[in-house]
């Protein structure tokens, strides 16, 4: 046969292969992209099944066709070139179908690396078995004429087909599975080298397409050589071994050995020159025979290499496993930090992980409470150890390991618990030969201590220390996190309560002030914090008189608010009984002094206003003086008087007086708390009495409401954004006069 024809045929094959492959890829892509996502899963499943069915049927029909051609050609000479070309094409196409079929199956059932090796070894075994069975079955075999094979009976042709089918499938499986192993860790060169190998395999196989079965051609020799070279190159791609856990490595070792011997056996038996059975494959298709031969060689070399390599990896497997556990534990732990906010859960997980990572016989975690924070403290979690034993460790003795760790803030390793003087105080413990104590540090404070023990002495090594130190850091962060969340929840709760207190306090102040025809009353109160200590109230004590009170509880916040509530109670109950302001203050002081904290006090002004006469009686209990402005006169009225709750009995009674003023039409009386006069500007100066007086003077002819607004506006303007103000209350009375008074 001419070389040119050979080339044409070869090219024809390549083109054929390309067309089928691209068709396959195309339908494949259609399959994935073409189907809209809303199509049901069942449709997808159905299409996949249909494809598999089509591929299998195709392969079957083609194999059947080849079988028929073979049967016919036993008796009838169908010509040399054309028939051989057609036959070879059919064979290659049938195996292409099988190839795609296996690829789909493989994609559907993804297995682990070791399972894959096991599968390959099993396939090798199956193929060997088939091979042996067929060689044992009676058939006449082949006659060799001019390097060509002529089957002697139909059974031989049938067996040849069956064997070839198994051989081809097996070779495809081998290449596909090894591909996964070689490309386990993909690099640019690894993928390239593998595809070069596949290319060499394909060309070496296809180059024999036009030659007689037993003929050796130069091209096939060259490409087979190249393929073998690439097989060796690719056989060094064994990175998957390193990532296997120790147990799986042992399996991998076993399977590799099995696969290696399987492939070696296959390689030997199909290469025996005078055996009849292997000629069945050669007869069926020369390219197939070359392909099977080369892929068996690939399998043998690759699994031989993987066996040796796995063997060398075994000693380090344990260390590798440990690192892996360590990494995954640390990973789990850091994930945990974001999920577990309960300290107890956290501690349990941490001790469990420590037990796993360093194979400790017992582990426990103690939380050290931070001062004043009110955290849960003490033992949080323990494994394989009773609390009684742990209590021996939680001691404040100066030489105890716990104290040492608390002081040094460093890891403490005790190699021999029984002999070491630092642990001599402990009762004999069978379970603890060696002890490792690790402080959990947060901002250089020990927030917890992690203990781990092993039964044997010298049980911990530097590696354990390193791992657990890293571990402890993570746990410390987790604990700190959990505490922060606890704290912020607490804060939120307090905030809610404070809002409630604010709401309650607002209700303590009068919602509306009573209205009278003879005078105007206006009041405003603004706490500096959510709740304040300022108070004012008005009550009509009899048909002629109205009592008003303004007060300021020392301090601010919730405490002050409580006292304010108490003052309201006192005012509401005593005002109608003790109409004289002086008597009222004495009685109020009596009740307050016994109930109030000794460093707190309340400043108060109590005054009564006669609705018709305009007589104003003022008693002052340590409160800011009252600003009184009339048309021709202005003064700060400051009757003698002490703050309530400062001192009991006599001293208070002796130092309280009443002042009486007859209000005239247009007179303005301003009560206020020190929040007004002590408001400070950003430069630190106080608003003071002078400014207050000026503002009131400037507005004295306006209504009580306008005067009140003017004062508060001026204070706001004065303090501006950076300034400071206390609780602030203003109460303005403006006497309008009565008709009866005018008549008089």
């Amino acid at each position: 046969m001419k070389i040119s024809t050979c080339r044409v045929v070869l090219c024809g094959h390549l083109v054929c292969f390309c067309i089928v492959y691209s068709l396959f890829s195309f339908t494949n892509r259609n399959f994935h992209i073409g189907i809209p996502k809303n199509k049901t899963y069942q449709t997808e499943q159905f299409l996949m099944r249909l494809r598999k069915l089509l591929l299998l049927t195709g392969a079957f029909i083609l194999t059947l066709a080849v079988f028929i051609i073979n049967t016919i050609s036993k008796n009838v000479d169908l010509g040399d070139t054309l028939m051989q070309y057609v036959r070879s094409s059919l064979v290659i196409l049938s195996f292409l179908f099988i190839f795609f079929y296996i690829q789909i199956i493989k994609r559907e059932r993804s297995r682990s690396v070791v399972q894959n090796i096991g599968a390959v070894a099993t396939f090798a075994g199956i193929f060997l078995a088939v091979f042996l069975i067929i060689s044992l079955l009676p058939h006449k075999g082949f006659e060799i004429r001019q390097l060509k094979l002529f089957p002697l009976d139909y059974l031989t042709i049938f067996f040849s087909s069956i064997l070839s089918l198994f051989a081809g499938t097996f070779a495809i499986v081998t290449v596909l599975f090894i591909k996964d192993l070689v490309l386990y860790k993909r690099k640019k060169t690894s993928a390239r080298n593998f595809w070069i190998l596949i290319g060499c395999l394909a060309i070496a196989s296809l180059s024999t397409i036009m030659s007689r079965p037993l003929e050796e051609t130069v091209w096939s020799g060259i490409f087979s050589g190249l393929a073998i070279l690439m097989i060796i190159v690719n056989s060094f791609r064994l990175s998957w071994i390193a990532y296997l856990p120790r147990k799986e490595k042992i399996y991998a070792l076993l399977y590799s050995l099995l696969a290696f011997f399987g492939f070696l056996a296959i390689l030997v038996i199909i290469s025996i020159q005078d055996a009849q059975t292997q000629k069945g494959i050669q007869y069926y298709s020369s390219p197939l025979f070359t392909f099977v031969q080369l892929s068996s060689m690939f399998g043998a070399v690759y699994f031989g290499m993987s066996f040796v390599s796995t063997l060398f990896h075994l000693p380090t497997a344990e260390a590798f496993d440990r690192k892996q556990t360590e990494i995954s534990s640390l990973h789990n732990l850091s994930r945990l930090i974001n999920q577990v906010f309960d300290l107890k859960d956290l501690a349990d997980t941490a001790t469990k992980m420590v037990t796993e990572v360093v194979q400790a016989s017992s582990v426990w975690l103690e939380i050290i409470p931070t001062a004043g924070a009110g955290h849960k403290s003490g033992l949080m979690s323990s494994r394989n150890i009773s609390e009684d034993v742990i209590q021996h460790f939680i001691t404040t003795e100066e030489t105890s390991p716990r104290t040492i760790v608390l002081q040094t803030k460093k890891v403490l390793m005790i190699d021999d618990v029984e002999e070491d003087k630092r642990t001599k105080h402990l009762p004999k413990m069978k379970f603890a030969g060696s002890l490792l104590i690790i402080p959990l540090l947060s901002h250089n404070n020990v927030i917890g201590i992690l203990y781990a023990t092993k039964e044997i002495s010298f049980g911990f090594d530097q590696d354990d220390v390193d791992i657990l130190t890293g571990f402890a850091d993570q746990v410390a962060i987790a604990i700190e996190n959990a505490r922060l969340i606890e704290r912020s929840l607490e804060k939120e709760r307090l905030q809610r309560e404070l809002l409630l207190a604010q709401e309650m306090q607002k209700r303590l102040l009068p919602q509306t002030l009573p209205k009278f025809s003879t005078f105007e009353m206006q009041a405003v109160s603004s706490p500096a914090l959510e709740v304040g200590g300022d108070y004012y109230d008005v009550v009509q004590i009899d048909k002629d008189r109205v009592a008003m009170v303004i007060g300021d509880v020392s301090g601010k916040g919730v405490g002050a608010a409580f006292y304010m509530a108490e003052v309201k109670g006192i005012f509401q109950s005593l005002a109608k009984i003790y109409c004289s302001p002086k008597d009222f203050l004495i009685k109020a002081n009596e009740s307050l002094v016994s109930s109030i904290d000794k460093r707190s006090f309340i400043s108060l002004i109590y005054s009564t206003i006669h609705i018709t006469t305009g007589e104003l009686v003022i008693s002052r209990g340590g409160h800011c003086p009252v600003l009184y402005v009339s048309s021709d006169h202005r003064e700060f009225i400051k009757p003698i008087g002490m703050g309530l709750g400062i001192t009991a009995g006599k001293i208070f009674e002796e130092n309280v007086e009443e002042k009486k003023i007859m209000m005239k039409k247009g007179d303005v009386c301003v009560f206020y708390t020190d929040g007004v006069t002590e408001s400070r500007s950003s430069s630190g100066d106080e608003f003071g009495y002078e400014r207050l007086q000026e503002v009131v003077l400037a507005h004295k002819d306006r209504s009580a409401e306008e005067i009140k607004e003017a004062i508060i506006q001026n204070v706001w303007n004065y303090t501006d954004a950076e300034g400071y103000h206390d609780d602030l209350t203003i109460f303005v009375i403006k006497w309008l006069g009565t008709t009866s008074m005018e008549q008089l």
Binding site: S554, G555, F601, G622, Y724
Partner: protein, 117 residues
């Protein structure tokens, strides 16, 4: 703004002087409390508080004196105050502190009141 300092000084007549400086408000009262507590722990009950450089005192600051005066007086001692600026005195005065405490012009005068007793 809320700078506050206390300096404890012992006079030759074994009277202890607390020199206050700055703003005494709710934030800074613990400093004064600690100083008083220290003197009381050492059983020093003759105390003069020199307010020469005290710029401001809030109700919480006044509360500190009230908290300790009982203890001090129960031990035959006293807290006397001196050198107040008019503004600070006004705050003490409004609440009637002069009725309970000796508030005098100078430290010498305050110390003198002890020796008379």
């Amino acid at each position: 703004m809320s700078d506050f300092k206390v300096n404890i000084r012992e006079r030759s007549d074994s009277i202890h002087v607390l020199e206050l400086k700055g703003y005494l408000d709710a934030h800074t009262t613990p400093i004064l409390e600690d100083s008083f507590q220290k003197l009381l722990n050492e059983k020093k009950y003759r105390i003069v508080v020199n307010c020469k450089e005290l710029n401001y005192i809030s109700s919480a600051g006044l509360g500190v004196f009230m908290a300790f005066i009982e203890d001090v007086r129960a031990n035959a001692g006293d807290i006397k105050m001196s050198d107040m600026s008019p503004k600070v005195f006004n705050i003490f005065d409004l609440l009637g502190f002069p009725m309970l405490y000796d508030i005098v012009k100078t430290e010498e005068e305050a110390a003198g009141k002890f020796s008379k007793n």
